[in-house]
Structure formats: structure tokens, C-alpha cells
Amino acid sequence: MITGTPKPIEEILEMLEPYDNIILAGCHGCVTVCRVGGEKEVQVLASTLRLAREAAGRKINIREVSLERQCDPEYVEQMRPYVADHQAVLSIACGAGIQFLAEKFTMTPLLPGINTGFLGVTERQGEWSERCQGCGDCVLHLTGGICPVTRCAKSLFHGPCGGSVQGTCEVSKDVKCGWQLIIDRLKSLNQLENYGKLKPYKGWSTARDGGPRRILREDMI
């Protein structure tokens, strides 16, 4: 899922300073699962903002909305009938959702209510960690299901670097060496020969280096 963290309330209040009548839009997708931008968070943030603004002597009207997904046009369009009646939209979806709203509603300022994080997994309630950087050329079948692009701080493709000490990365004692994890896993799977199958270099043309990416599936159009 795409993870995120709430923006500090002071930062959101500062963004809302010019406005008295806004939409607060949540999303039922990833941000609901990581408890940062779902229907519940919309209710809590709306109440918080109303209280803060009224205590400061300047009330704010907030229309609370939660879309099924802010990254799909059919759901975004549900907001169209009433967007123009408001001065701005504060979205607590991921950066993709916020940008999609901005593209669709060009005359209304869009404000981000969260900081979007990474593609990750839930370790336990309240803890998420990164697993994928969307490089566009997956090699997990060769690396025991552990991604060298994400789990190695340097995204190396040739095994651990000199900063790997007793399975720990030099970046932090809390970060495991991705390559140590890969080698240990390949050993336990009896697939250590896969280590030698990795490409001599990684082609990054499918990753972010080529600018914003696009997927075009002719079979679906």
C-alpha cells in the first residue's frame, strides 16, 4: 500500500488561513488502511480544524467527504457538483490522489493534509515499512523475494558493500543489510546459484530516471 503520515496541525491551519469554506476529502484506499486519510480521519481532522479555528475567533465551514478512491476518475467526478461552492479542497489522500483532484478541478486550490510516504507493508498496528520502489524491472525471483533496490540503502546489485557489519547496514543500526538478508534467504532456499544470475548492471530506464512514467495497456483500451 501507499503509506503516509499526517501533517502537523499547525501546518494545515497555516495552509487554510485564507479560507473559510472548504472540502475535506478522504480516500477509502491505502490511506484508510494506514489510518491517515480515511473516513474516520476526515471526521477527526474536520472537528480538530473547526475547534482550532473557532477558538481563534474565525469559524471555518468544512464539508466532509470520503471517496472510494481519489486516483480513479469515476470517484473523483462525484465531487464535481459541489467543488465550485467551496474555496479550496484539503485532501488527505496520497500525493497521487491530491494531484488527480487538482487536475480535474482546475479552478479550485488543492491542499495536502498528509505527507505521502512509501510503498510498504504493515509490520503491526502503527508500524509500516518500505518494500518497493517501483523500479519497473522486478528481480525478486532471483533474490529470494527480497528487493535489493529497496532493502539495500545504496540499491546495489552485486552483494553487500563494505558498510555491512554483522548483518547491519552502516546507515543505521536499526536497518538490516538488504544483501545479507538476500544471501541468507537464498541459502535457506538452496538457491544460492541465483546470486550469479543477476544482471551485471541494472537498467534504470524503467525507473524514475526517465521522468514521470506511464503504463499503456493496449489490451485494455
Binding site: 474516520k40 477527526v44 472537528s47 480538530t48 475547534l51 473557532e54 477558538a55
Partner: protein
């Protein structure tokens, strides 16, 4: 009134302040004695989150507090209620109610002139 603190969430607690409460007292069963296993533990975590929110938006974190009691501790409930009401009286009206009272006063002044 809610029969189980496990149903409480942050938005309900904040709504109470929006609706004019100067303080909110959450009374749950004793920890370890929840009929639904962890309802009161979850409630405490939610109360703590609202505590942090009230602190950040300068409404005053001490306006919310959770107590744990068994259904048979009537006198303790009364003592906790008196203690909390006393604390809220000490803090005075919430900033929201002060603003609302000021606005109501301004309107009545305008009407009399």
C-alpha cells in the same frame, strides 16, 4: 451516554467539545475486566490521542480524562465525577465557549442599541 467505552472514537470526543462541552470524562470498566477483552484499553489510547489534539489546538488537554471503575463502585464514581468537575471549574469555560459567549454578548448589545 455510551454503554461501552470501546465504541468511543476520537471524533465523538471532539464532537462533544464542538457541541459546547467544557470537559469530557470517559468512564470505562477496570483494565483487564472488559467484557469485550480490550474495549477500555482502546478507549484509553483514543482518549490519549484526543488529549494530544486538544493540547496542540490550545483548547487545553486537561479537559479530557479517562477513569476506570467497576459497576459496583458508585461512591468512587461520585468522587471521580466531583474531582473532574472541580478541575474543569478551575480551568473555566473552554476557549470555544468563551468565543461563543463573546459573540452572543456582542449580538445582544447590538440589539439593545
Amino acid at each position: 451516554m455510551l454503554p461501552c467505552t470501546g465504541r468511543i472514537d476520537e471524533s465523538l470526543l471532539l464532537k462533544a467539545f464542538e457541541n459546547g462541552a467544557d470537559g469530557v470524562m470517559v468512564v470505562g470498566c477496570l483494565e483487564g475486566d472488559c467484557h469485550y477483552v480490550s474495549g477500555n484499553i482502546r478507549a484509553r489510547a483514543r482518549v490519549n490521542r484526543v488529549y494530544a489534539i486538544l493540547d496542540k489546538i490550545k483548547i487545553g488537554p486537561d479537559r479530557i480524562r479517562m477513569f476506570n471503575l467497576s459497576a459496583g463502585e458508585g461512591s468512587k464514581f461520585a468522587a471521580y465525577a466531583n474531582e473532574f468537575v472541580g478541575k474543569i471549574r478551575e480551568l473555566g469555560p473552554s476557549p470555544i465557549n468563551l468565543v461563543r459567549a463573546g459573540q452572543a454578548h456582542a449580538v445582544s448589545q447590538k440589539e439593545t442599541t
